[in-house]
């Protein structure tokens, strides 16, 4: 007689209304009754992934949502231009990941910022690479987001019922530019200092509210001790949070409303109809 199987490895009893004991065993499948043969450890290992996914799905109900989101129908004529939005999102994710790791070495202090940035580039293992990814990736993200915007505009994909998604997208463009503006100060070399001085004074040139806006950005009337921490907090906490949330809303609307066919496809369809008539 074999040794008794531990309780957690024994097949679960069949669910009410089900013939076999379902997910937990291939042994009794289809025979309509409880099988006596226990699954081997190998069987369980093979099914581990499926049963884990099943466990999660049974408790979260995610699979209908994911099926609708990932396997949704797209119009005929969908092409590579439709990947620009995803490309922008991946640029953002790359910025987020490299930014998190840069934050481990960067010191947002006027007397330490330049030193710590140089330290990242010159001393830290792969520091030059990660900082370079973040620096050049920012330009990549700006380029991609405008290409994505241009694609949406040229394809007329901003029209009813997708106006709200266009508005969210415009806010995302503004936030992305704000990331560029606030991030530019952080290396704190001569170029970034004077570029930020000019940028803040451009804000100050707005009538009535401009001077107050400049005071808000500088945390006072002059560029002072708290200006860099302020830019840093906006750059790494405030704006990325807003961007992540708005990307979620943007994607929800894309999944909800679907994408538009390229404009030339409609013209072809009309021609086709004429021929049919």
């Amino acid at each position: 007689m074999p040794p008794p199987i531990p309780k957690f490895l024994r097949p679960s009893p069949p669910r009410p209304g089900k013939g076999s004991n379902g997910r937990n065993g291939r042994n009794g499948a289809g025979d309509g009754g409880v099988s006596t043969a226990a699954p081997t450890v190998k069987d369980r290992a093979e099914e581990a992934t499926a049963s884990t996914v099943g466990w999660l799905d049974e408790r979260s109900g995610l699979s209908p949502f994911l099926r609708g989101f990932l396997y949704r129908k797209v119009p005929k004529g969908t092409n590579w231009y439709y990947t620009l939005g995803s490309a922008t999102m991946f640029a953002f994710l790359s910025q987020a990941v490299t930014g998190v790791f840069l934050a481990m070495y960067y010191e947002p202090d006027p007397t330490r910022a330049y030193e710590s940035a140089s330290h990242i580039t010159n001393d830290v293992f792969l520091g030059e690479f990660v900082r370079g990814m973040h620096k050049w990736g920012s330009s990549v993200m700006i380029i991609l987001i405008f290409l994505h915007m241009g694609r949406t505009f040229v394809f007329g994909a901003y029209k009813y019922p997708r106006e709200l998604n266009w508005i969210i997208g415009v806010i995302l463009v503004v936030l992305t530019l704000l990331m560029g503006l606030t991030g530019y100060l952080l290396p704190f070399d001569q170029r970034s200092f004077w570029a930020t001085v000019v940028a803040v004074n451009i804000n100050a040139s707005g009538p009535i509210v401009g001077p107050y806006l400049a005071d808000f950005l500088r945390a006072g009337s002059e560029f002072g001790t708290t200006t860099i921490p302020r830019f840093y907090a906006i750059h790494m906490l405030l704006v990325p949070g807003l961007i992540a949330a708005l990307i979620g809303a943007h994607l929800y609307l894309v999944a909800k409303l679907g994408t538009t066919a390229p404009p030339w496809l409609k013209a072809q369809k009309k021609d086709l109809m004429k021929e049919e008539i």
Binding site: W194, V197, N201, P211, Y212, A214, G220, S221
Partner: protein, 223 residues
């Protein structure tokens, strides 16, 4: 429908007892459900405001307070300065941030022939010109041979008094208060001037100070 208002006039009553709600008090108009909704919203609103408003004030606070006290910084004995040419000096305008808090100024003695005394203003014994360009804040340099201030960023040109001769700047270069203590020239707070060199509280670069424009760029509490 059986319970539509037209067929069931009792539902229109403004009293809960009139609408047949169980446990209603005499004269009660607000249902307990509505009362609880309102309470939950109010409590949530108060709790949110309790952290959001202080945080907002915390971030916006620097707009409304002047944290830079007046400091008089000596820049050398009176003998170091003449009245027909500028001498560069470095002063500190923002503490604790190292070199970023320093700025160059150009100093000369008050010139009785060239400098006008503006009515109602106490004349400054020395003229201390700020190098912050009145366009967008780049550092201007004084070219002694031409007696002009030149901005490297966008080509602003200022004359000997700091008045605009060309380029995008909207007003003359800012100045600093000066005084003489024990033979030492001392530099105080910054002030701005309009095209007639009349004194104003310090403004940001790009803020106009002439005509109706000056009212679009108010003095700020921080300066």
């Amino acid at each position: 429908m059986a319970d539509s208002p037209s067929q069931n006039p009792e539902r229109k009553s403004r009293y809960t007892s009139g609408r047949g709600i169980a446990g209603a008090f005499e004269g009660e108009t607000v249902t307990r459900r509505r009362f609880m909704e309102g309470t939950a919203l109010a409590v949530g609103g108060i709790a949110t405001a309790a952290f959001a408003l202080p945080a907002l004030g915390f971030a916006l606070g620097p707009i409304f307070e002047d944290t830079t006290p007046t400091r008089w910084q000596p820049v050398g004995p009176e003998g170091n300065f003449v009245d027909n040419d500028y001498v560069p000096r470095v002063i500190n305008i923002a503490p604790n941030i190292g070199d970023a808090g320093k700025t160059t100024i150009y100093v000369r003695r008050f010139n009785k022939k060239q400098d006008k005394v503006i009515k109602g203003e106490d004349p400054q014994p020395y003229v201390a010109i700020s190098t912050r360009c009145a366009h967008l804040g780049c550092p201007v340099g004084y070219k002694s041979a031409a007696q002009k201030f030149i901005c490297p960023c966008h080509g602003g040109i200022y004359g000997f008094q700091g008045e605009v001769l060309g380029g995008p700047p909207v007003r003359p270069l800012d100045r600093f208060y000066t005084r003489v203590t024990n033979g030492q020239v001392e530099i105080g707070d910054r002030f701005s001037v309009n095209s007639k060199l009349e004194r104003f509280s310090p403004r940001d670069p790009s803020n106009h100070l002439d005509g109706l424009w000056q009212y679009l760029y108010p003095a700020r509490p921080t300066t």
